[in-house]
Amino acid sequence: MNSFADIFELHNWDETKASIYAKTSYDVERALSADKRTSEDFKALISPAAAPYLEQMAQISQQLTLKRFGKIIQMYVPLYLSNECNNICTYCGFSYDNKVKRKTLTPMEIMQEVAVIKDMGYDHVLLVTGEANQTVHVDYFKKVLDLIRPHFAQISMEVQPLDLEDYQQLTPYGLNTVLVYQETYHQEDYKKHHPKGKKSNFQYRLETPDRLGQAGIHKMGLGVLIGLEDWRTDSFFTALHLNYLEKKYWQSKYSLSFPRLRPFSGGLEPKVEMNDRELVQLICAYRLFNQEVELSISTRESPNFRNNIIKLGITAISAGSKTNPGGYSVEPESLEQFEISDERSPQQIARVIAAQGYEAVWKDWDNSLAM
């Protein structure tokens, strides 16, 4: 199969990293003034050499985002269905070796959670699970989609990577978007962080967006978990992946996320820290590189950071999130995947968005439009 793996193989991690760190202020200025920016320009914009140009990058990022998306921010919220997981991931609260009570929501419990989420005003929900193929499988997803479809205009999913046939089966059930983060494109380190379970198969995960494209998914989300490896190099590979996908699966939309590793019970300390300035640099670099991609920010980030990032290039934000199955009403005290940083309610966030001169948009899709 032709897939991103063919392109990935052509890029060596260490050489790529070295080329990013070798970028100079000349390269950055060239990238800033370019009309169409290349992947080399993107390298310059994420390089340490771009740090002094942050304000300029933010100004351009804001203008480009306004032009494409207008003064709106889309609202979404996660619904954790299950924390069962057969994978060992060194950074995740749901890791198989983390001795916690496991739970997968029943249909009745799901509807209890849905009621709370609807009361919060949401029309776009992101379904999240671990990877437990014996209980949380395609048939389970079909049942869940059937159950919740009448209640949401848009349904996204962040679950284990599935086969092409699975995605083909799920899209008629109203599945609009699938998020699948590579975690890291550093193949050797990926193995260290995922020593056991189906997730340890780097290649299968790497080719998941290809399968989504072939299944004709409306939107897919990419990203890496920032903190596992050098974020600049990982972000370059993300951009490379995005570029490849956009050209090949031109009927799909794309979104990017940039989750920073958060503390959880018994968890890993980030190997590489990324500070707030650097995260802003990355967000703006993505926007300067790609004017159409959606950029999403979660409750992993602090209130102050989220307040100020609204105008800088992002297009979607979550609020009031719970990262444990049953967290909204069924079992609020169960183990969460990670601690969130911003506890404010969706309505508070909507007011923050309005105060910045933007409008919080709760509905930007309609399930009945896709057939």
Partner: protein
């Protein structure tokens, strides 16, 4: 003799007719990208626009009496033009049009079929197919298309109520990059020509009307400006000025030099 400043005396400005509706304003508008729905309402009101497009995906079609955006468009002079933005083929577009007709009680539909979500390029093949079907079903179809003169004629044959060729890529604010094709379309069209997409400034809108476009549809340039209300007024005036200039017949630009040694002077000898 005319009084100074009396523009009404010379502005006959014949009204625009699309299907069975008469429009006094040739500025059509969109509802996306505004920083708040109150600001949208204000801008659309001062624009004088009588045809306002709404993305079906943005509104709660089923409970439309409670939809904040739709409530703000409830004025006797505003006609809703639901659009199918987000659909990828004719089949989905037809379904969306039916949904809109049922929920919003209008048989007007702005056909937007762009399978390419990056540049939002309209699909000419699916658009033609959908127009044929929808026209048969009694819809008033306004398709968003490339500035393709042959496609416009084919859409006319299919029963379209108007054509909406793009001036430049949607949201790009680049103005009338397709002007050569727009002029051909305008010269041979039997249905109203509405320039949609790419109009970035009032001067672009004026230019479109000057070359004979029947109307323009503007969204991004108003919604994203620092002062949408003021920008809406600027567009209103520009559209009126452009139409007036068209009616008054513009003096043709002189594109050739007058030679100092004429080539044909020997004929006079």
């Amino acid at each position: 003799m005319l009084e100074p400043g009396n523009i009404k005396a010379v502005n006959k400005n014949p009204m625009l007719k699309i299907a069975d509706k008469i429009f006094t304003s040739r500025l059509f508008t969109g509802t996306g990208k505004f920083s708040s729905s109150t600001l949208m309402e204000d801008a659309l009101l001062v624009s004088g626009s009588e045809l306002v497009t709404v993305a079906l995906k943005r509104v709660d079609v089923k409970n439309n009496e409670h939809d904040d955006l739709l409530i703000r468009l409830k004025y006797p002079h505003i006609n809703l033009l639901p659009n199918t933005s987000g659909v990828r083929n004719a089949k989905e577009a037809i379904f969306a049009a039916q949904l809109a007709r049922e929920a919003l009680e209008t048989n007007w539909i702005k056909l937007e079929i762009h399978p390419d979500p990056k540049y939002l390029m309209p699909d000419p093949i699916e658009t033609l197919k959908a127009t044929e079907e929808l026209a048969k079903m009694g819809f008033i179809v306004l398709p968003y298309i490339h500035a393709d003169p042959v496609l416009c004629k084919r859409l006319e044959d299919a029963g379209t109520a108007a054509v909406m060729p793009l001036g430049s890529p949607i949201g790009s604010n680049k103005g009338l990059r397709t002007i050569d094709f727009l002029e051909i379309i305008i010269s041979q069209s039997n249905v109203p020509v509405i320039v949609d997409a790419g109009i970035g400034s009032p001067s672009d809108a004026a230019k479109a009307l000057e070359i004979g476009a029947d109307a323009v549809l503007v969204n991004t340039a108003i919604a994203v400006s620092a002062n949408p209300v003021q920008m809406a007024i600027a567009f209103k005036l520009a559209v009126e000025a452009g139409r007036m200039a068209f009616e008054a017949k513009l003096a043709l630009p002189v594109t050739h030099a007058v030679a100092s040694s004429p080539l044909t002077s020997f004929l006079d000898e």
